[in-house]
Amino acid sequence: MLLGPSLALSAILFSLGVAGVLLRRNAIVLFMCIELMLNAVNLTFVALSRLYGAGGYVMVFFVMTVAAAEAAVGLAIILAIFRHEQSVDLENINLLRG
């Protein structure tokens, strides 16, 4: 049984994703880190499927679909901002504040 290590790995991946979000300033990179988080969760689902049956696999598909939708929307938004800023560096995106 590789349940423990699998869960641990997914936790590590998730944390890496979080850390990436926290540390990086590029919108695209940030988005990729978020995708990493989602995939870490997918790993959890898959790992747990060993325990609880196929429900986990179904879940993974759901998540992948959602992630795809998010990616589509997200990239569009990033594009839109790029058109305004000529950059996707989040440091520069602070028109709204206070």
């Binding site: 926290l22 709204l96 504040r97």
Partner: protein
Amino acid sequence: MPVHLVWLTVAFPLLGFLVNGALAFARPNARRAVSVAGVGSLVASFVVSLGIFLTVRSAHIVEPEIVKLWAWLPVDRFHIDIAFQVDPLAAVMLLVVTGVGSLIHLFSVGYMQEDAGYARYFAYLNLFIVFMLVLVLGSSLPVLFIGWEGVGLCSYLLIGFWFSDTANASAGKKAFLMNRIGDFGVLIAMFQLWTTLGTLEFVGIAREAPRLLQPGGTAVTLITLFLFLGCTGKSAQIPLYTWLPDAMAGPTPVSALIHAATMVTAGVYLVARTNVLFAMAPATSTLIAGVGALTALFAASIGLRQYDIKKVLAYSTVSQLGYMFVGVGTGVFVSGLFHLVTHAFFKALLFLGAGSVIHAMHHAYHASHSHDDAQDMRNMGGLRSYLPKTWVLMWIATLAIAGVPPFSGFFSKDEILTAAFVRGADNPWYYLFYAMGLAAAFATAFYMARLMVMTFHGENRSGAAAREHLHEPGAIMTGPLIVLGVLSALGGILNVPAALGGHHALAGWLRPVFAPSAGYLQVEELRGSTEYLLIAAAVLAGVAGLVLGYRATLNSRLLPAREALPDTGFARVLANKYYVDEAYDRVIVRPVVGFSRSVLWRFFDQGLVDGLLVNGSARLFRGVGWLGSQLQTGQVGFYVLFFAVGAVWILHVLLG
């Protein structure tokens, strides 16, 4: 006349007040109507009073007759009616108030004839009589207090009668405030009485006090001390006397009625009314006598160096009130009241006489377009040839106040001094009070002689132009003077002591009133020789004062006020009344106002409470809000950091 009609004595002046009050707004120049309403109501009241007096006399009313009008403050067990109490004391006071009041009203008709506020004047004067009668008739302390404060109100209005002058308005306000300090005492005394005795009616007090109070105990001493505080305010004793001289700003008849004959004696009346309490509190009594003696001497000494004729009389009044308090403080309530009555006669006479002089002087100056002070005695002199009737009558009053036999003042003053001396046997302080009283008697005679000389004798100093216009006022003003002159001369008959062949008529009359206190006061008999010695001493002091005052003043070089040199040395201290007013102003008034303004209002109210706490907290919240909005940097990274901190916290709570 049935006793229950006593309310009529109040109703007539009240009616007069209403009529005159209405006329003051509607027809201020209807002088005849005003005179009729003003004087007529008083005369009617006097007639009723006389009827009541005769009834009390013939029916031998000993127990107070309570005439209830309506329930005023019925609150649970506390129940106060608007009710009048008719007994010998009330009857005497009724006569004095309405009698002297009528005379002064009559005098006013002449004195105020040309004043624009004629109707207003009579309205106030009538209102005063209403309250004064409520004061002397009230069957309980709260009802008395209505009158007590009411006369204060009228005094305020009448002192400030010519309100366009700031000084007059201020004097009225000062009088009211000083009186209020005293009223504070009366109120506290009432509260304490209610808490201890459960009653505020005079009958109840007389009944319950011996039962519930320990003679000489703390409670009764406190009560009487607070009551006496009230008396010092109303009757202008040290330390609250300073308003009375200022009160001379009012029209002179007002000074005669309110500030000499009636209102200011209310304190003495109050002590007499609640005599049982004072009899049970020897410590307070001693204090009263001491304060009275001190006031008598102190005020008399100031009177020695005043130039304003009314100021001299004012200080004289303060001084004579001191005598009365020596009397009631010594336990001889009858003597105090006796002096009250005789003083009402001669002091009213003196004031009205002074009024007559001022009236003449004022007219003369007015006619000659002079702006000199019509009340300054330095501008008078030699007036006897212009105002002969006034001159004679005022001499009668002077002899009376100086205590020269057989004028009225002699009897009353002598009784007080004798009693004080006698009391000295068991309380040596009273010897001192006696000595002070004697000295005051000398000073009194001295300044009265000075007043008479400066006003009526010697050369006239009012200026040639004015001199031609000086003349005696009409009969409407001299008439009352003559009546008062007779009373001043003969008033002593009321209470001639046994030593001089009398039988204490007034004392016998008032005995039921003072019966409750009799048990607490030991009456000591005097050996005849001592009594005659004391009489001789009193007379000597008076006569010596008169003679010395007469000669000293006549010999001094008098100049009209504008040419006069300022006083020097101790005389200057006296002329400036020992600087007491200034001291009060510096030590009390200004610090209180300054403290209120800069510390309480500016610093505490506006600065601390409103500024720092109220507006400050608003500003603080806004400031914190601004800081909070500075967190909102617009940086996604920062937001995520915040998010992460929150996440860590949540997980920490759940896992920890």
